[in-house]
């Protein structure tokens, strides 16, 4: 059952909101301390002046937000694991982290293929073959567009990309002759 909201307050508190806002207060406090460490109260034009004012404003704001959150009643209908951090969000964050870790050693093409296959299979619930085929098409499209149009260099990793490109080019040269 939903708790009655005290008069004059905004929306009720969502799961995890209090913890998040507390972390914001602590983070702002730490940043204010760091800003003070830049040049202290040396001068109004010192390199730490704007960072100090900025972080002080952050601390003031987060303090007010935290106090307001404390006064709010909790939404009992919402759950952290369903409405704030559902499994697809956690899996996607882990997948991006995994992508970043594998990008250099494995290379752009295999990492992207695995990333897309895994996520499409998980999110769209397609068969592995269908997910892999879609991933292959997408990786091919993205690679051609960004390698050729945008000339972006991505880590080759285990794929001998330079050799493959040279081989494809040699085919065209041979045809030309």
């Amino acid at each position: 059952m939903q708790t009655k909201q005290p008069k004059g307050l905004g929306q009720p508190r969502r799961p995890g909101e209090l913890v998040f806002n507390l972390l914001m207060v602590l983070g702002s406090l730490y940043l204010l301390w760091s800003a003070y460490g830049i040049s202290g109260f040396e001068a109004l034009s010192a390199p730490g002046a704007v960072p100090m004012v900025t972080t002080a404003v952050m601390l003031l704001c987060t303090g007010l937000i935290f106090l307001e959150t404390l006064r709010k009643s909790k939404i009992t209908a919402e759950k952290l694991e369903r409405d704030i951090l559902p499994m697809p969000v956690i899996v996607t964050i882990l997948a991006i982290t995994g992508y970043a870790l594998a990008l250099k050693p494995l290379g752009f093409l295999p990492t992207s293929f695995l990333f897309l296959t895994g996520l499409i299979r998980y999110l769209a619930k397609y068969s592995l073959a269908r997910s892999a085929l879609l991933a292959l098409l997408m990786v091919a499209g993205i690679y051609l567009l960004f390698r050729i149009v945008f000339t972006v260099l991505m880590p080759p990793g285990i794929v001998p990309e330079a050799e493959v490109i040279a081989w494809v080019k040699s085919l065209f040269v041979a045809r030309g002759n």
């Binding site: 905004g10 929306q11 969502r14 995890g16 909101e17 998040f20 806002n21 914001m24 940043l31 760091s34 800003a35 830049i38 040049s39 001068a43 109004l44 034009s45 390199p47 730490g48 002046a49 704007v50 960072p51 900025t54 972080t55 404003v57 952050m58 704001c61 987060t62 007010l64 937000i65 409405d83 704030i84 559902p86 697809p88 969000v89 996607t92 964050i93 991006i96 982290t97 992508y99 970043a100 990008l103 250099k104 752009f108 992207s112 990333f115 897309l116 996520l119 499409i120 999110l123 769209a124 619930k125 879609l134 997408m138 993205i142 960004f146 945008f150 000339t151 972006v152 260099l153 991505m154």
Partner: protein, 498 residues
């Protein structure tokens, strides 16, 4: 003569013309697909085009921007899901029209009036920006500082959530922008003893994280929502229908241009104000507002497209972004070695006229692409989100990596993405963060210049502010934004009306 030459650059260069067309085409689709925002697309694009020459990079981004603002209306009409915040008002009457089987008619009229609005905004940019730039040369450092504060505050106060959260977000952006070596004294700021932070946090990683990853993560909550199918036939509107709505379109275009030109306000606010204006001035609509009134489409769509040209005015003349997309475009100009502000018009007037011309061309492409290819469009919008989202996330990762070929930037992007995701969940606006990052340097430099020239005295600074009419207006505006959001304002207002 120079002006004409600069205006002709994107018209005569087929590559630039093609990029503007491609950008507009892509922008319409990006803007139309819920979950893909123009801000997201432009921020990802910067990372891929940073190694390009400045003209092609800007041409592509302008196309995406112009097309994206218009594209947002498509899904607002077809699915009642605005593809972009600027299309929120469009859904109010667009979707009821679609339910009556008039989706084609709605899309047709929206396309034509968007062109009209876009044209008026661009015209205003061409006329007023040079005048404002001449005036802006006389701005003092304190004026720039207050303009930056004003922009961040306006975004904070007008976006969703409370003003306190908006101010926090803006301050956070300024703090992020300050990370690294201080350019004046080479003192380390917020580096925490890490050498990797001395060059600052990659602006592109922050942007892609905040707008790409966080939005992608939010979309995962509704990833399995089925796409709604619509059948559409002809969409080209009759001339009599267009002519009938031109007077209202002219009024709301002017509103859009002015709102767009205010630092920190963009097409979404312009569209809502214009919609409100339409409900006041249209005495006898054929269909009531909210049930499919064409006036309810004309007003927001002319205004949000006019706001594009308007948003470029403060961006190019003062270096202050009009909205989140222009904030990102300022970042793009910085990356390409340009310095948006009054001196841009003096040092590189060609760049200004090139932008005006590119916007005008993008507006024409928008009309052409908007009135054609509707069947392909409907198919693409129906693509399942569960397939589309992984591809968008991959593009975001590649974009963050590509700027410095650094995996660290991917981690930064992910960190800011997850942080932005929680900020969104708990009602913090993200626009002020990016505005803060962009304006951090401007604010910091001008504060220090102002206070040094006033001999480190706050009293002298205040006296100087009160003595200058411009500074005084800016100062009062900053104070008014604060006061307007406090209970004090409500008390004064109630007393007056009582």
């Amino acid at each position: 003569m120079d002006v004409i030459n600069a205006l002709l650059i994107p018209i005569l260069d087929l590559k630039l013309l093609g990029l503007i067309g491609l950008g507009t085409f892509a922008g319409i689709y990006v803007g139309a697909i819920p979950g893909l925002s123009v801000t997201m697309a432009v921020s990802i694009l910067i990372s891929f085009t940073f190694s390009w020459a400045v003209y092609p990079a800007i041409a592509l981004m302008i196309g995406i921007y112009m097309g994206g603002v218009y594209g947002g209306s498509r899904t607002a009409i077809l699915l009642n899901i605005p593809g972009a915040p600027s299309a929120i008002a469009t859904a109010m009457d667009g979707f009821p029209m679609a339910k009556k089987g008039l989706a084609g008619e709605a899309i047709g009229i929206v396309t034509v009036v968007s062109f009209l609005g876009g044209f008026i905004g661009i015209l205003a940019l061409a006329i007023f920006a040079p005048l404002l730039a001449d005036f802006a040369i006389s701005f003092q450092p304190r004026d720039y500082m207050m303009l930056a504060v004003l922009g961040i505050l306006l975004v904070g106060s007008l976006s969703e959530g409370s003003l306190v959260k908006g101010i926090f977000a803006g301050a956070l952006g300024i703090a992020i922008g300050a990370v690294g070596m201080d350019p004046l004294t080479y003192t380390e700021r917020f580096t925490f003893g890490t050498s990797g932070l001395r060059s600052g946090v990659s602006f592109v990683a922050v942007m892609i994280g905040m707008f790409g990853i966080s939005e992608g993560l939010m979309q995962l909550h509704t990833v399995n929502t089925a796409a709604v199918k619509q059948k559409i036939s002809s969409i080209i509107p009759s001339w009599s229908q267009v002519r009938k709505h031109i007077p209202l379109g002219m009024q709301t275009s002017s509103i859009g241009t002015v709102i767009g030109a205010l630092p920190g306000t963009g097409g979404d606010i312009a569209a809502l104000i214009a919609y409100d204006h339409a409900t006041r001035v249209t005495k006898n609509p054929e269909v009531p507002f909210g049930q499919g009134a064409i006036e309810g489409l004309v007003a927001p769509e002319t205004a949000n497209n006019a706001a594009v040209g308007g948003a470029f005015i403060p961006m190019l003349t003062l270096g202050i972004p009009g909205d989140a997309v222009t904030a990102i475009m300022i970042g793009a100009l910085f990356i390409h070695g340009l310095n948006p502000g009054p001196m841009l018009m003096v040092d590189q007037p060609n760049m200004f006229w090139f932008i005006v011309s590119a916007l005008a061309l993008a507006n024409c492409f928008m009309l052409i692409f908007g009135l054609t290819g509707i069947r392909v469009f409907v198919k693409i919008v129906e693509l399942p989100r569960a397939v589309l989202l992984p591809a968008i996330l991959l593009l975001s990762i590649v974009g963050a990596y590509a700027v410095n070929n650094s995996v660290n930037d991917v981690y930064w992007m992910l960190g800011f993405g997850v942080f932005g995701y929680f900020m969104k969940l708990y009602g913090y606006p993200l626009g002020p963060v990016i505005l803060g990052v962009i304006l951090s340097r401007l604010l910091d430099d001008n504060w220090r210049r102002a206070i040094i020239s006033d001999q480190e005295s706050l009293w002298m600074l205040l006296k100087g502010t009160l003595a200058s009419p411009l500074s005084l207006v800016l100062f009062v505006s900053v104070i008014l934004i604060f006061v307007s959001k406090t209970p004090l304002w409500g008390m004064i207002f109630r007393k007056r009306t009582a």
